[in-house]
């Protein structure tokens, strides 16, 4: 019982990452009709926004400490971050400690600009091109973005811890009246899950309750008619692209403390999030979110030792297996619409 509860928690967490990326992919696909293979790269850049900010905040000046020596026997250079010099050691350290949450604010303008530049500078020219061409050009872009990050940050993962307040874990089991010390869950993962819920809710509310969102939804359903009504749908779609980039970026920022970011984390997520989008049904936002959580939870269950010992290797393939079963029983995924991307 505890085991199942824990795996559901794990699954929700993994699911929220999948769901956030899949949501952005579906937004871009649904509005612009573009298959964006660079979406994983946007997630990765988001995570590196957190790295970048923590590097910026830790910009240091060096003083030489003659009493201590470095590995070559020279006097040790001591680095003191400017923020610590300006705000005093304690406040300074606290600011650096909070760099990941601060990176949320930092990343929004960056991701929005990247999204706008990408759409206006490149994707725009590919609306009318075959999907295969879109895949090729965005895949090329993903490689380029990835290599740029690798050039500046190296290939190794870079630890980007959450603020100390969220560092530990808490006894979730004891809170809901079960045995203590069994269901333990890290604070940051709960934060991640809640954050994802807020973002997903926000995007849905935006599309549902604002005029802007209404026009976008109308455009998704029938672009031509909306255009004939004299509404500049293109401009709105550009904004949607930027929004999708921001969502992917935020997912990345918040993910940085869970797994140390590296330059190829986007590619690792890309394939899985495509599977999630398709299982959810092309063009369906709720489908993408639902599929994200379903696959996340199933993946967690399949990782349990009892399951793996029964079916060796099941943890490796569960997502793909489920995808096959769902696509064979429900032709257009969980909530897909007819005629989208079927030819």
């Amino acid at each position: 019982m505890d085991a199942i509860l824990l795996q559901i928690l794990n699954g929700l967490d993994k699911g929220s990452a999948y769901a956030l990326i899949a949501l952005g992919l579906t937004l871009i696909f649904g509005t612009l009709g573009v298959v964006n293979f660079a979406h994983g790269a946007l997630f990765m850049i988001g995570a590196f926004c957190a790295v970048m900010l923590s590097r910026l905040l830790s910009l240091s000046y060096t003083t030489i400490d003659p009493d201590r020596t470095d590995f070559l026997g020279n006097p040790l250079k001591v680095e003191t971050p400017y923020v610590e010099a300006w705000f005093g050691p304690e406040t300074g350290a606290a600011i650096i400690d909070w760099s990941v949450p601060l990176a949320i604010l930092f990343s929004i303008p960056i991701m929005a600009v990247i999204g706008l530049v990408m759409e206006r500078g490149l994707i725009k020219y590919f609306y009318k091109r075959p999907h295969a061409d879109q895949i090729l050009v965005t895949f090329g872009l993903a490689i380029v973005l990835q290599e740029i990050i690798k050039y500046f940050f190296g290939a190794n993962p870079i630890p980007t811890p959450a603020p100390d307040v969220f560092a530990g874990s808490f006894d979730f089991g004891a809170m809901i009246g079960m045995d203590p010390n069994v269901i333990i869950y890290p604070y940051w993962r709960i934060v991640y899950f809640l954050f994802a819920a807020v973002i997903i809710g926000g995007v849905f509310a935006f599309l549902q309750y604002t005029t802007f969102g209404m026009v976008v939804r109308a455009g998704m359903a029938d672009r031509q008619t909306v255009g004939l009504l004299g509404i500049n749908i293109d401009k709105r779609f550009t904004v949607m692209f930027a929004l999708a980039a921001v969502v992917a970026g935020l997912a990345g920022v918040m993910y940085a403390p869970i797994n140390s970011p590296n330059y190829h984390m986007g590619m690792d997520f890309l394939v899985l999030s495509f599977v999630v989008v398709v299982v959810g049904g092309m063009g369906s936002l709720p489908g993408a979110v639902l599929a994200g959580f379903v696959l996340g939870i199933l993946e967690s269950f399949a990782s349990m030792a009892q399951v793996v010992s029964l079916l060796p290797g099941i943890n490796q393939i569960i997502i793909y297996l489920v995808a096959i079963v769902i696509l064979l029983t429900r032709p257009r995924g969980l909530m897909g619409r007819k005629g989208v991307m079927e030819s």
Binding site: A132, L136, L327
Partner: protein
């Protein structure tokens, strides 16, 4: 010739000549010149050009004709490779049975995958094939280790049973051969500053590749090929006329799977090892990129795309700063430093960056792939002779 029309015959002859004289064409620079770095005329890379050419030709039969975008073709290549190595371990070091068994196994596996995946179309089909390939890769890398040797790759050992051959000769594993002709055997021709290598394995690949190419042309021009094109242009209308398109697409899928198996079999014939990475989604993606890059739906485009990617991978990744400095050794040091600094990100460990940029440039400016580039160049010349051809002329069929 051979039942081909005039245009196809001349294309076939052109390819034949290119393949025969590739050892010359790919080594255009004298051995001790600085540009020798860009020579590609060594056996391994020349074999790879042909093998991936076969893979891409086969992929194009499915994708170029029917428009079905499979994201799992690498799995068939991988299955073929494993079957081939097992044949060499168990039966004989002659490569022929290995190649044949590779094609058979890849064909059977593609029949299974195709039968299931072709129930869906469009992106749903793509994801189904991707799922099968990723499952094959994951399992081959981990739980199937007893059959596939997982991480280290399946390779020959000194104690292989090898029923129609010997396990070892004085502590050495026998080499792969084709009825006694050793695949590693090479002849070298030195002419002035140039050195050309003629490798037995390469020419075996060449013969098989030309057969595969010929079959592909015949398929493209056959009624069956027409039927596949009909699937691409309007499957619904085709179904309304009472034709069931599924057997045709399944046949195309299996044929292209067998081409992939053939490529896998040749790979192990040239180099007896089968690694699981061959089945990863990136490998499937690579053949998609080769095909689109070269020109999907064209006969020879995919081969060019394959050559392009393999050339970048093998030549650019080997350039390092020392070589750059050597190129610029005539220049003042400061200028050389600047040049090296500018070029450095694109070579050696940065070859991926060059690859990504090339993908983008080609797809942005040449929607029909490399083939369109050739056609444009050709048109430039023909326009000088004759005055008028339509502006969009004979643009190749777009990918979907």
């Amino acid at each position: 010739m051979l039942g081909l029309n005039k245009k196809d015959s001349s294309l076939f002859l052109l390819v034949l000549l290119l393949v025969i004289f590739a050892p010359f064409l790919l080594n255009p620079f004298p051995e001790n010149s600085e540009l020798a770095q860009f020579n590609a005329g060594y056996p391994d890379l020349m074999q790879r050009f042909l093998i991936f050419g076969i893979f891409a030709i086969g992929f194009n039969i499915l994708f170029g004709l029917t428009g079905y975008l499979s994201f799992g073709h690498a799995a068939f290549l991988g299955v073929g490779s494993y079957a081939g190595v097992w044949m060499m371990k168990l039966l004989t070091m002659n490569v022929l049975p290995a190649i044949i068994i590779s094609v058979i196994f890849a064909g059977l596996f593609s029949l299974l995958v195709g039968y299931i995946s072709l129930r869906r179309s469009g992106i749903y089909f793509s994801i189904l094939t991707l799922a099968f390939a990723q499952m094959s890769f994951s399992l081959a890398y981990s739980v199937l280790t007893p059959i596939t040797a997982g991480e280290t790759g399946l390779q020959l050992a000194l104690d292989d049973p090898r029923i129609l051959g010997v396990s070892q000769v004085d502590g050495t594993i026998p080499l792969a051969h084709f009825f006694g002709l050793n695949m590693r055997e090479s002849y070298e021709l030195a002419m002035g500053g140039w050195l050309f290598t003629f490798n037995a394995g390469y020419y075996l690949c060449a013969v098989i590749m030309m057969i595969a190419f010929y079959v592909a042309i015949r398929i493209f021009r056959s009624p069956f090929g027409m039927m596949l094109r009909a699937v691409k242009s309007n499957q619904q209308r085709m179904n309304f006329t009472g034709l069931n398109s599924r057997p045709y697409t399944l046949a195309a899928f299996v044929i292209s799977g067998m081409y992939a198996g053939l490529a896998g079999g040749l790979m192990v014939a040239m180099d007896p090892l089968a690694g699981a990475e061959r089945m990863q989604w990136t490998a499937s993606g690579e053949v998609v990129l080769m095909t689109i890059l070269g020109g999907a739906g064209t006969l020879i485009g995919p081969v060019l795309g394959a050559g392009f990617i393999k050339y970048l991978e093998n030549i650019f990744s080997k350039i390092n700063d020392n070589i750059l400095y050597e190129w610029f050794s005539a220049l003042p040091t400061a200028v050389a430093d600047v040049l090296v600094f500018v070029i450095h990100p694109f070579i050696g460990k940065g070859w991926h960056l060059t690859l990504g940029i090339m993908f983008m440039l080609i797809v942005i400016f040449l929607p029909g792939g490399i083939m369109e580039g050739f056609q444009r160049i050709g048109k430039m010349f023909s326009r000088k002779k004759k005055t008028a051809t339509g502006p969009s002329g004979a643009a190749p069929a777009p990918a979907e």
